[in-house]
C-alpha cells in the first residue's frame, strides 16, 4: 500500500465510523455513549483529512489549494480512476 492509500484508508475508516454513528444517532438522538463516540470519530476524521490534504491534495472544494499556479481540484486521478 502506498502512503497515499494508507492515509486514505485512515481517513475513510474514521469517516465510516462517523457516518455509521451519526445514522445510529438519528434514531437514538439521546444515546450518550454514541454521542461521545461521535466526538472521537469527528476528531479522527478532521485530523486525517487535514494530513491527507497537506500531502495529496483536495478532498472537497473547501480544502486548501496547495498549487500556486492553478486550481488543483481538477487534477487526476478522480475517485473512479484508481
Amino acid at each position: 500500500m502506498t502512503e497515499k492509500e494508507k492515509l486514505m484508508k485512515e481517513l475513510s475508516q474514521a469517516q465510516f465510523a462517523a457516518i455509521e454513528t451519526a445514522m445510529f444517532l438519528d434514531t437514538h438522538p439521546k444515546d450518550k455513549k454514541a454521542r461521545e463516540a461521535m466526538k472521537l470519530y469527528r476528531e479522527k476524521f478532521k485530523n486525517a483529512k487535514h494530513r491527507y490534504e497537506e500531502k495529496f491534495g483536495m478532498i472537497d472544494i473547501y480544502s486548501p489549494n496547495n498549487d500556486e499556479n492553478k486550481w488543483s481540484w481538477v487534477e487526476n486521478p478522480w475517485p473512479w480512476e484508481a
Binding site: S12, I19, F24, D26, Y62, P79, W80
Partner: protein
C-alpha cells in the same frame, strides 16, 4: 445542499476488466433495486416526513446511497476499461456497447432504462417506511445474487460492503417505524397517515 468529496466510500481497484460482469452489476446502478432509485426514494420522501428523527434518517441514508451509486458506477467503469472488440463480442456486451460505448448509463441488467416506477414516495409515513424496508431487502438480495455470480475478489469486496450497508439501513428504518408508531394516537389503531388525517 450537497458537497462533493473527491473520494470513494470504500476503495475500488479492479485489475481485470470483465464486460460480462458489468452487464449484470449495471442493475445496481439503474435497475429496479439499484442505488439511483434508492437515493431518489429517500431524498424525495423526506419532504413529507413529520418527525425529526425520520427526516434525519432519510437525509443521511439517501445521501449515503449517492455514494453507493458512485461506487457501482466506478465498478462498471473499471470492469469495462480497455476492452477489445473481441472481448466485447465474446461477453455479449455489444447490445449495451452499440448505444453507450463504455459510458455509464442507468439501466437494469435486462436493458430497461431506469424508471421512477421502481420507487414510491406516497406522503404517508407508514407506507413510505414499509416501502423503504422492502427496498433495502431487495437491494440486499440483488447483491446476494451478484455475489453468487462473481468470483473476482476485487469486485466482491466492494459488493460485500454495499450488501452490508443494506442491512444497517434496514435496521435504521425498522427503528423509524417504531418511532412513528409510538407517536400514533391510541385511537389510530389501524395506523392511518398521522401527518394528513389529523
Amino acid at each position: 445542499m450537497f458537497v462533493y468529496e473527491k473520494k470513494l466510500q470504500f476503495p475500488i481497484k479492479i485489475k481485470n476488466p470483465n464486460a460480462k460482469m458489468a452487464k449484470f452489476i449495471a442493475s445496481q446502478y439503474g435497475g429496479p433495486h439499484g442505488e439511483l432509485g434508492a437515493s431518489l426514494r429517500y431524498l424525495s420522501q423526506r419532504f413529507a416526513m413529520p418527525y425529526e428523527e425520520l427526516k434525519a434518517t432519510l437525509t443521511d441514508v439517501g445521501n449515503e446511497e449517492l455514494s453507493h451509486l458512485e461506487m457501482v458506477g466506478t465498478i462498471l467503469y473499471q470492469l469495462t476499461r480497455n476492452l477489445s472488440e473481441e472481448e466485447i463480442k465474446d461477453a455479449g456486451f455489444e447490445t449495451y456497447f452499440v448505444d453507450h460505448t463504455t459510458g455509464i448509463y442507468p439501466q437494469a441488467a435486462s436493458g430497461t432504462p431506469f424508471s421512477a416506477w421502481s420507487i414510491a414516495s406516497t406522503g404517508d409515513v407508514l407506507a413510505d417506511l414499509n416501502e423503504d424496508l422492502a427496498a433495502e431487502q431487495k437491494a440486499r438480495l440483488t447483491y446476494d445474487n451478484i455475489l453468487r455470480l462473481v468470483d473476482d475478489p476485487d469486485v466482491r469486496e466492494p459488493i460485500k460492503f454495499l450488501r452490508e450497508r443494506e442491512l444497517v439501513h434496514y435496521q435504521r428504518f425498522g427503528e423509524c417505524i417504531r418511532l412513528a408508531q409510538d407517536r400514533l394516537n391510541c385511537k389510530n389503531f389501524y395506523a392511518f397517515n398521522p401527518s394528513f388525517d389529523k
